[in-house]
């Protein structure tokens, strides 16, 4: 299955490189768009020294982890983001006939290689933040950082799948979709702890962004020593369960209008 995915990926790379100048220009402009994500934090820390006790590089690390997870999903699993188009043009019906899992085919159906610029950007910002942060490195912290990054990929993957299941109900992908993914991404750029109670509750218990880059971050930068904080990214996997179940449920109920 993995080999099949890479075959798809290779095809997409070939397609992208057919229009070289367009690809390069899109890549560069995507780099500049990505810069705006970090620009707000960098500009504001020019005027302020901290946000609720967090320093510039702590916030940048927090932000880069979120963008990394989002960008990985955008780059390699673009098909799930555009799921409504698959339903509308009937491509989903074809997928149902093939001997592979539907979700797998959807994931492999489209990649957006330009978005890899955002992955690279996130890695760069992460590296800058880590160099400037003065962290007492240990084996445990390396593992924790990896867990946070994986949790970030998982949570956006879950959200995209959830939004795709939502398309079964509405057919048209509504803007609510963007509110959940883009809005969540925007808020989770900052340590969730800086927000007031209501928002903190939503991002802890409903969409668990706090377990991706807030509670683990506290442990990572040495603000908390409780071992539970170390394991908190694992809770994100629980969030994945209802997302996958809802997709299954939607697929079962799906009625093609055919033609």
């Amino acid at each position: 299955m993995v080999r099949l995915y890479f075959k798809h990926l290779l095809q997409d790379i070939k397609v992208a490189l057919e229009y070289k100048s367009s690809f390069i220009f899109n890549f560069v402009s995507s780099l500049i768009v990505t810069f705006t994500y970090y620009f707000m934090i960098i500009a504001l820390f020019d005027k302020f020294s901290n946000i609720a006790g967090f320093t510039k590089y702590e916030v940048l690390l927090c932000c880069a982890i979120i963008h990394f997870g989002f960008a990985i999903n955008e780059t390699f699993f673009r098909g799930i983001d555009k799921f409504d188009e698959l339903i509308i043009d009937g491509a989903l019906d074809r997928m149902l006939l093939r001997p592979q899992g539907v979700l797998f085919q959807v994931l492999a159906s489209r990649t957006d290689l330009i978005k890899i610029s955002r992955v690279l950007y996130a890695i760069a910002i992460m590296a800058i933040a880590l160099v400037n942060l003065n962290i007492e490195w240990s084996f445990q912290k390396v593992i924790l950082l990896l867990m946070m990054i994986i949790a970030s990929i998982i949570i956006f993957f879950g959200l995209f799948v959830l939004m795709a299941s939502y398309c079964f109900v509405t057919i048209q992908g509504l803007e609510v979709k963007n509110l959940m993914t883009d809005g969540g991404k925007f808020a989770a750029q900052y340590p969730i702890g800086i927000f007031k109670k209501g928002l903190k509750f939503v991002f802890t218990f409903i969409i668990p962004f706090a377990f991706v880059n807030y509670y683990p971050l506290l442990y990572f930068i040495g603000k908390e020593n409780n071992i539970l904080y170390f394991f908190s990214p694992l809770l994100v996997f629980i969030f994945l369960i209802p997302c996958l179940l809802s997709f299954k449920w939607g697929l079962k109920r799906y009625n093609s209008i055919g033609s």
Binding site: S29, T36, I51, L179, G183
Partner: protein
């Protein structure tokens, strides 16, 4: 002239139909408004000793106005209809019409932006006023400030639409236009104060931003409202922005003329 006015009217009527999109848009704007307010609150509360470049009431007002008039000032809007004319060859029809390409899409864009914003802004503004004073929108500083604010918004609409069409026309020179149009959009978005209000910029960038035309899209209207830009200064800026509008329209017109001369339509 009458033809352009009809394009304008048609687009206005068409886009008034998309009411459910407007409701979703309002939710998005309100959510982003809240997150912005909360982030800035956290910054202001944990740095009480710092001399802030914008006072809190002015900043909260800036944020809510920015969300309410989002579809008017948003410069990264991509008009797929216009871009697709290049790929599917319909641009040939566009060029043989007696109307000018630039002005046709200019009026269409203005109408589109206007209809979007008219459906969205009342709800966001009302919510802004309903919120407790420490989070919400304040009243305009004076009646005169409000008058200049409205005039500045109108010039913002004219300027932003012209700029966006220029970006699309330049994209005519390539096959995949997405990169070029987003590039133009991002530059405007940063330098108009769409990401961070201009007073928060580091010194050098601030000087650059004040010299560029983009500040008239967002920075000027939203700050004159709360008298952060004074009335006298505001009148001066209003003059500058009118000059920029004329320059942008001229550039757009000239580009559309050169395109008409240079276009190569690949048969079919």
């Amino acid at each position: 002239m009458k033809a352009y006015f009809n394009y304008f009217k048609l687009m206005l009527i068409t886009h008034f139909q998309y009411r459910s999109a407007a409701i979703a848009g309002i939710f998005t704007q309100v959510f982003f408004g809240f997150v912005y307010i909360l982030v800035y609150t956290a910054f202001y509360e944990s740095n009480t000793a710092v001399n802030t470049p914008l006072d809190w009431a002015g900043l909260a007002t800036y944020i809510w106005l920015g969300q309410a008039f989002f579809s008017l000032i948003y410069p990264m809007y991509i008009d797929h209809e216009l871009l697709n004319t290049i790929k599917n060859g319909n641009v040939a029809y566009e060029l043989i019409r007696p109307q000018n390409l630039f002005f046709k899409y200019y009026f269409k864009t203005i109408a589109k932006k206007l209809s979007h914003v008219l459906l969205r802004f009342p709800a966001v503004i009302m919510l802004g006023f309903a919120l407790p004073a420490s989070y919400g929108l304040s009243l305009p500083h004076s009646l005169l400030n409000f008058v200049i604010f409205v005039a500045a918004l109108i010039s913002s609409l004219l300027l932003c639409s012209a700029y966006s069409i220029i970006a699309h026309l330049i994209a005519f020179y390539s096959i995949d236009a997405r990169g070029i149009t987003t590039f133009f959009g991002v530059v405007a978005d940063i330098f108009m104060g769409g990401v961070v209000p201009l007073p928060f910029f580091p010194k050098v960038l601030k000087t650059i931003a004040y010299a560029l035309p983009f500040r008239y899209i967002a920075d000027f209207p939203f700050r004159v409202y709360s008298n952060d830009i004074t009335i006298l200064e505001g009148l001066k800026l209003l003059g500058y922005s009118s000059i920029w509008i004329i320059i942008f329209i001229l550039i757009g017109y000239i580009i559309s003329k050169t395109i008409a001369k240079k276009v190569v339509v690949l048969g079919g």
